[in-house]
């Protein structure tokens, strides 16, 4: 069945997300080289390239997750959107705001906060359209009369908590928060920690949705275990942030609570390991090779990242790892290894469902080439950052320059593997962008050429 006009808004979000990630990775590579050569690209120094990189990559995560929700609800769940026009407004406001944010970075107008480094006024359209998104989502789901599967809860929770934590991150505008340095730091890292948890809810909801659809088993999304893991994740979202702030002066019990909550993630890790084999055999039977491979990669990165996260959540280890490149490794492993792999799986699931005649079930050569380049280079990139982090954390001298020279070889590896990572990802993204364009063309009534470019099977 050809996609209808009202299904297109989700696809447009997905395509915009792809563009955002492609640009974000380019600026990430430039930033990586500026670590080695700080004067590289004088006109656009690191204090400008870093926010462009961070904002574009974070935008990708949101756009791809939101696009999936806007697409899956009307197209596959037969829940027509409460207001397709609200979704269109959401899309266009995101584009205009995104351009304004990029302009502010390029011209050096900053808000000076981690993640949201743009002037605070530009958050206003994001706030307003997020409300619109939430109203649209919850009103759309009113039509669903059965108990919600866990992914509906996760999407809904992600939407609500993003709104709360996004508001919370702007508490610094109030002097009471801004003028106490400890409170200022806590505001930033409490809100950002929870905000990351909220976008994880959107992404993990997407993961469960795609996995259950591919496996053809909806029961898994309504099991007690699924809800149990959801509430555990939500508890971590609310209380687990404080492992970011162990070393900020605050009451000891807050640190101990964060430590205890963080360790509950061990249960999630155990569950992942327990289910690993079963999930492999289930997935292998499916006909969504590209989507399956990306989901499988996400599974491995979940494991690697959870181990690292658990280690750095132990306060005694956090003393060494805090404020080092190990934190960056954790962030990159999570956003690229887990979130991006899941969202790419979602993209290729959509493509395979909508273009079964153009895209064969087997893995495509170009996408798999990009897949392997991306994952191998990400592994090198990740471990280079971990090693650089250990170098910094264990350095006992007083000279920052001396420490920087010691870890420079690892940063060279990090920068070079970053180029490979970008090229591999671009190859994947180009194929996804092109094929999503074919779906849009077919919905617009244009004849889609069955060129089978992705049917060059290598499996």
């Amino acid at each position: 069945m050809i996609a209808r006009q009202n299904d297109l808004i989700g696809l447009n979000f997905l395509r915009l997300g792809i563009v955002s990630l492609a640009i974000g990775m380019f600026f990430g590579v430039i930033g990586g080289f500026q670590f080695l050569f700080p004067d590289f690209l004088q006109e656009l120094l690191f204090n400008r390239t870093r926010p462009i990189h961070v904002s574009m990559v974070v935008s990708w995560i949101f756009l791809a997750a939101i696009g999936g929700i806007y697409f899956y609800l009307p197209r596959q769940q037969k829940l027509s959107l409460w207001s397709p026009n609200a979704a269109k407004i959401h899309f266009w406001v995101f584009i205009v705001t995104g351009i304004a944010i990029l302009y502010s970075y390029v011209t050096g107008k900053f808000g000076g906060r981690e993640y949201f480094m743009f002037p605070a006024i530009l958050s206003l359209p994001i706030f307003l359209t997020w409300i619109l998104f939430g109203v649209n989502y919850f009103n759309t789901l009113k039509k669903y009369k059965e108990p919600w599967p866990v992914y509906y809860w996760m999407w809904g929770t992600g939407i609500v908590f993003f709104f709360i934590t996004f508001c919370e991150s702007y508490l610094w505008l109030i002097p009471y928060f801004r003028e106490s340095m400890v409170r200022e730091i806590i505001v930033q890292w409490k809100s950002y920690g929870a905000l990351t948890g909220s976008w994880n809810m959107l992404v993990y909801g997407t993961a469960i949705y795609v996995a259950t659809r591919i496996a053809g088993n909806q029961d898994a999304a309504k099991s007690k275990m699924a809800y149990g893991l959801f509430f555990l994740g939500l508890t971590n979202l609310i209380f687990g942030w404080a492992h970011h702030t162990y070393l900020v002066p605050s009451q000891t019990w807050i640190r101990v609570l964060a430590y205890a909550i963080s360790m509950t993630e061990l249960f999630i890790l155990g569950k992942i390991l327990w289910d690993w084999r079963a999930s492999l055999t289930t997935f292998q039977k499916n006909q969504h090779c590209n989507a399956y491979r990306f989901m499988f990669a996400a599974d491995i990165w979940v494991f690697i990242n959870l181990v690292l996260a658990l280690i750095i959540s132990v306060p005694a280890f956090n003393l060494i790892t805090h404020g080092t490149h190990i934190t960056v490794a954790h962030a990159m492993g999570s956003t690229i290894g887990i979130n991006t792999m899941i969202l790419l799986s979602s993209l290729f699931y959509v493509i395979r469902e909508e273009l079964p005649e153009n895209v064969h079930a087997s893995c495509s050569k170009q996408v798999m080439t990009g897949f392997w380049i991306t994952n191998v280079s990400l592994a090198i990139f990740f471990f280079a950052l971990v090693m650089a982090g250990f170098g910094r954390g264990l350095y006992e001298g007083a000279s920052f320059q001396e420490m920087a020279l010691q870890i420079r070889p690892f940063l060279v590896v990090f920068a070079i593997s970053g180029i490979a990572l970008m090229l591999g990802m671009w190859l994947v993204l180009w194929n996804a962008f092109r094929l999503l364009g074919k779906i849009i063309s077919s919905a617009n009534g244009e004849k889609v050429r069955g060129d089978g470019e992705l049917s060059t099977a290598n499996s």
Binding site: N47, R48, R50, E114, E179, Q251, I254, P315, A316, T324
Partner: protein, 132 residues
């Protein structure tokens, strides 16, 4: 029910964190000069490269205690002229002085990285440097 409980916990926990939970002694109140310096620090996006309490970008050093470790004159010279690894961002002398005042204010709020601490057998850390 569980959702509601967690949400209410979130609200109360947040309120506590932002009042009593972080009400440790913070040293002197922020001065007007430091307040302006904080604004300059944000406008030039200094946290893209630098950290306070290990939070921020990792291209440059953590600045929490740069004033007590290196002195105000040293910090001011770095900001005003730049170095091989830190570009001169073109701050005016007033802006430079304000940022140094802000860094001085941050310096009074605590110690990073902690110098005096106890590590327990179960992995927690008691930081004796915390302002009491």
């Amino acid at each position: 029910m569980i959702f509601g409980t967690l949400f209410v916990s979130f609200v109360f926990y947040s309120a506590y964190i932002y009042t009593a939970g972080t009400e440790v002694a913070h040293g002197p109140e922020i001065s007007d000069e430091a307040r302006r310096g904080q604004q300059v620090y944000q406008e030039y996006n200094c946290m893209a490269c630098h950290q306070f309490y290990g939070l921020g970008g990792y291209m440059g050093p953590d600045l929490t205690n740069v004033i007590s470790n290196r002195g105000a004159a040293y910090a001011g010279a770095f900001i005003a002229a730049g170095t091989a690894t830190m570009p001169n961002l073109g701050l005016s002398p007033e802006e430079t002085s304000d940022v140094v005042a802000f860094l001085g204010f941050v310096d009074t709020t605590g110690t990073y990285p902690p110098k005096n601490y106890d590590v327990t057998w179960y992995g927690t850390v008691r930081q004796e440097d915390d302002p009491q």
